[in-house]
Amino acid sequence: MTSEPLVADHVLEFPGGYTRSTGPVIGRFLTELRDGRVVGVKTAGGRVLVPPLEYDPATGEPVTGEWVEVGPAGTVTAWAWVHEPRKEHPLDRPFAWALIRMDGADTALVHAVDAGNPKAMRPGLRVRPRWKTDREGGITDIACFVPEVTMIVSPTRAEYRIRASASLTRFLEGIRDGVFRGGRCAACDKVYVPIRVSCPECGNVIGEEVELPGTGTVTTFAINNLPDPRAPEVPFISAYILLDGADIPMIALVGGVPAHEVRQGMRVRAEWAPAEERTPSMSSVKWFTPTGEPDVEL
């Protein structure tokens, strides 16, 4: 006959914790830690041990009585990333255990590095102690190490209130009303769309307004494979479209046709948003779509 195994918790814990005498070397080190300093001790061979020991671990000979302050920065020589910290760990979020050679030391001490994520860790990473506020003389007086500051995030924001110019307003109101408004330079006899105040070629003021049909010819185009908020999908066509009667193309979307069927010389017409949805903005022209007419010789 079987029964449930008998199971119970068992704890071995010396009440109040062990009391450990430190001896002169460790005691000195922890005293300095409590004061916010990291010190090492020199061996007879001239090496600086951090954390300090009473003896040279290489030879077993006693260390000298010579102390040196090291750090406060150190260099990570090796590390391991803790994805799931245990409750005894110095940090309650993922962190790295690391061997850290303090500046001025010849050996490395082990401590935790609060690096945020493992990609931040690398050999040679420079770290500094993050000190506890209330220190008692223990290795955890250093709460952990943190990477040196190598980057700051600088939120930069400038706010503006933009007013469309009179000519652009006139053009965009035309778009709302379903017409393309251009202007003719009397001196150059060239029609500009959108309508503008002056002629880019001669600098003269453009006086005459003209209305252009919503039909035109694709002069050239790009097939864009990177998404853009102004395009419904990828790939999309951004095309130079020379409206009939205009002398300068506009850059606009071409749609309603597979991207790879668009051609230079293709005849297109504006596909307007429904009149009630139109606003004074280019989004009122959904895109240009092929008319089906024969291509134009460019």
């Binding site: 400038a158 503006y160 933009i162």
Partner: protein, 342 residues
Amino acid sequence: MRQVRDVAVVAFAQTRHTGHDTGASEPELILPVLEEVRAQTGLRRFDFTCSGSCDYLAGAPFSFVSALDALGAWPPISESHVEMDAAWALYEAWVRLQHGDADTALVYGFGKSSMGDLRAIMTLQLDPYYLAPLGLDQLSYAALQASALGASRDELDRIVRRSRTAGRENPYALDLPADEDGGFLVEPLKAHDVAPVTDGAAAVVLAAGDRAGELATRPAFIRGIAHRIEPHYLGMRDLARSASAADAARAAGVGKGPVEVAELHAQFSHEEIILREALELPADTVVNPSGGPLAANPVMATGLIRIGEAARRILDGSASRTVAHAAGGPCLQHNLVAVLEA
């Protein structure tokens, strides 16, 4: 400075500046002033063109690109642009005319500070590690300088009253009340110590050698022009003085003769005091008869307008030796001084 080719301001035009956005785009602001300097000189092509503007003021990169479309730059022109007040565009053009193979230059600048919050935008010009993250704004650092100077409230008020009164006489400047008793914005500066939000543009035509006399009956010859910058960090210079303005003034030769009129790029009332001292202006010099920046401050054109206004006094025969000053950077960090003579 070595042997210098005679270069003169032969034409100057500015917009009737406004304290609000009229809906004119930057190219549309420039267009009338370009037409005006073309009409003044009868020139439609210039050997060199240079402009000054600022992307952060316009709220978009390449603010100068669309401006080029206002110029009628066809056939293509020899042209450059500084991301500085257009006074430095004039300096670049002056240097170019020293080569000897170019005789005329068009310089223009434009700015619409109505579109954004200039106090905040100017923060972006500060050191990005120690200063900008503090959110130290233009008025605040100007107030630090005013405090370091320790100017009296009476003196500041007098400067503001004089500037605004002059501005009301100037058809291009804003109409601002001469007396305005507001509280402190950032003590010791009050609202009226600050140059007003302004939209505007300006253009100047330079001509060298014989061309100057052909294009203007009384050209304003640039007898000296120099600029100097000084350390950026406010705590690493004497804010009460402007060593760079003083250096530039010496290099330009301000003290070599009387100064009838000085147009100073003082965007805060206390800056005028610092600049008068740095330029060692005689007591009888008339300062900012146009009203100066305290009456109209189309940022990026304001410095060029100082040169234009100083030149205008020569061009119209009302003065024979004038001084113009332009500034850039926080707390008058960068200063340009020009001496103009009949």
